[in-house]
C-alpha cells in the first residue's frame, strides 16, 4: 500500500512540475513563435504585396474580431501614410483550401497585389498559382467592391493554364473576403492610423 502511494505521489509531482515548466516556456515563447511563423510562412507573400513600404508589416499588424473569428491585418506604410493593408483569406481549390494573402489600398479599395501562402494544389498545374506572375499580376488594380472572376467567367483575371478550378477558387476567395473587408473597413482605417510614421 505504501508503495502504491509513493509511486502515485512521485509521478503526480513530477507531472505537475513538468506541466508547470512547459506552461511557462510556452507562454514565454508564444509571441516569438507567432512572429517567426508569420515571417517564414506568410512573410514572403506579404513582403511581395506591400513591396516598397517603409515599415515592417509583420511587426505593424493588428487583429480585429469579426463575429467568432479573429482576423489579422498587416499594415503597409507608403510615403509616411499607412494606406494599405494585407490580410489572409481562403478559397476552395482543387486539393483543399488555398490561403490567399490580399493587399488592398484603403483609399481606393483596389487590390494592390496578392500571393498564395498555403495550398495543396497539383504540382505543375494548380501549384503554379503561387509563382505565375501573369496570374498574380492580373489581380492588380481590380476593385475589391466588384466580384473578382476569371476571363472565361466574364472577369478580368488570366487563369493559370490548366488550373481553372484553382484560379476560380482564388477569385472566389477574394470575392468572399470583400464581405468582411467592407464590414470591418471603418475599424481597419481607424486601427491603421496608429501606424503612421
Amino acid at each position: 500500500m505504501r508503495d502504491i502511494i509513493r509511486m502515485i505521489v512521485v509521478l503526480a509531482v513530477l507531472c505537475a512540475l513538468s506541466g508547470g515548466l512547459l506552461a511557462a516556456v510556452k507562454s514565454g515563447t508564444a509571441e516569438k513563435i507567432e512572429y517567426q511563423q508569420l515571417k517564414f510562412v506568410k512573410g514572403p507573400a506579404i513582403k511581395e504585396i506591400l513591396k516598397g513600404c517603409s515599415n515592417d508589416p509583420i511587426v505593424d499588424r493588428f487583429k480585429l474580431q469579426d463575429g467568432d473569428v479573429e482576423r489579422s491585418f498587416f499594415v503597409g506604410v507608403f510615403d509616411g501614410k499607412p494606406n494599405s493593408v494585407a490580410y489572409e483569406t481562403f478559397g476552395k481549390g482543387f486539393g483543399g483550401p488555398i490561403g490567399i494573402m490580399v493587399g488592398v489600398n484603403l483609399e481606393t479599395d483596389k487590390v494592390i497585389g496578392m500571393g498564395v501562402t498555403t495550398h495543396s494544389e497539383t504540382p505543375g498545374l494548380g501549384a503554379r498559382a503561387k509563382t505565375d506572375e501573369t496570374f498574380k499580376g492580373s489581380f492588380k488594380g481590380l476593385s475589391i467592391n466588384e466580384p473578382v472572376k476569371v476571363k472565361t467567367d466574364g472577369g478580368e483575371v488570366d487563369a493559370v493554364t490548366g488550373a481553372t478550378i484553382t484560379s476560380r477558387g482564388v477569385c472566389a476567395g477574394i470575392t468572399e473576403s470583400a464581405e468582411f473587408y467592407k464590414r470591418l473597413k471603418p475599424q481597419i482605417v481607424e486601427k491603421a492610423k496608429a501606424f503612421a510614421k
Binding site: 508503495d3 512521485v10 513530477l14 512547459l22 515563447t29 513563435i33
Partner: protein, 198 residues
C-alpha cells in the same frame, strides 16, 4: 567521483561507445535528418541538450523514483525537455525547425536518451551523468555531421549550403535518398569496426 573517471565518462561517448556507430541506437533520426550537415548538427545539438538535462534530473532523482514506475518517470522528464527544445527552436531557429519537422518531437522515443537514463544516469551521480550525457550527445552530433557531410557533398555537391565542386558536377542523388543513408551508414560502421579491431 575522481577527475580521471569523469574524463573517461566523457570521452567514451566520442569513440569507444560513440552513438550511433558503437551503440547502434537512435537510427531513425540518424537516417532521416542527415541529408545535409546543417540538419545533422541541429538534430545532434537538440539531442545533446535533452540528453544532458534528462541525465541530470534522472540521476538527481534516482533515489526518490520508485523502481516500478521508473520508465514512466524517465519518459515524463525526457518529454518535458523535448518540448522545451521544440518550442525554443520554433522561437529562435524556425527554418531549422521546418527542416527537422517531426524528428524533434520524436526525440522522446529516441533510444539513446532513454538508454542513457536507464543504463547510466539511474545508477550514477550527477557529475558523471553530465559527463556521460555531454560525451554521448557530442558523439552523436559528430556522427551525424560526418554522415551529413558525406551525403551532402556527394548527393548535392554542397557542404553546409556552399558549392564544393564546380557547376559540371552531376549530383549523385542516390546519396540523399533513404537507401543512400543505409549504404553510407553501413560503410561507416564497417570502417569503424576495421579501425577498432585489435
Amino acid at each position: 567521483m575522481s577527475e580521471t573517471s569523469l574524463v573517461q565518462e566523457f570521452t567514451k561517448g566520442l569513440w569507444e561507445e560513440i552513438p550511433p556507430f558503437r551503440l547502434v541506437l537512435g537510427l531513425c533520426p540518424t537516417l532521416a535528418v542527415t541529408k545535409s550537415v546543417e540538419t545533422g548538427i541541429g538534430m545532434g545539438l537538440a539531442l545533446t541538450f535533452v540528453l544532458v538535462c534528462s541525465n541530470i534530473l534522472v540521476s538527481a532523482l534516482r533515489k526518490i523514483i520508485p523502481s516500478k514506475v521508473r520508465i514512466a518517470c524517465f519518459i515524463v522528464i525526457i518529454a518535458t525537455f523535448v518540448v522545451v527544445v521544440e518550442l525554443s527552436m520554433q522561437a529562435f531557429a524556425y527554418p531549422l525547425f521546418l527542416k527537422l519537422g517531426i524528428f524533434i518531437p520524436l526525440i522522446v522515443v529516441n533510444c539513446i536518451v532513454l538508454g542513457r537514463a536507464e543504463a547510466f544516469a539511474s545508477k550514477n551521480g550527477v557529475g558523471a551523468s553530465i559527463a556521460d550525457g555531454l560525451g554521448m550527445g557530442l558523439g552523436f552530433t559528430i556522427s551525424l555531421s560526418v554522415l551529413g557531410s558525406i551525403r551532402e557533398i556527394f548527393g548535392a555537391g554542397m557542404w553546409y549550403g556552399k558549392e564544393v565542386f564546380g557547376a559540371s558536377f552531376q549530383p549523385f542523388t542516390f546519396m540523399v535518398e533513404a537507401p543512400g543513408a543505409f549504404v553510407c551508414l553501413g560503410l561507416l560502421l564497417a570502417i569503424m569496426n576495421l579501425a577498432g579491431k585489435k
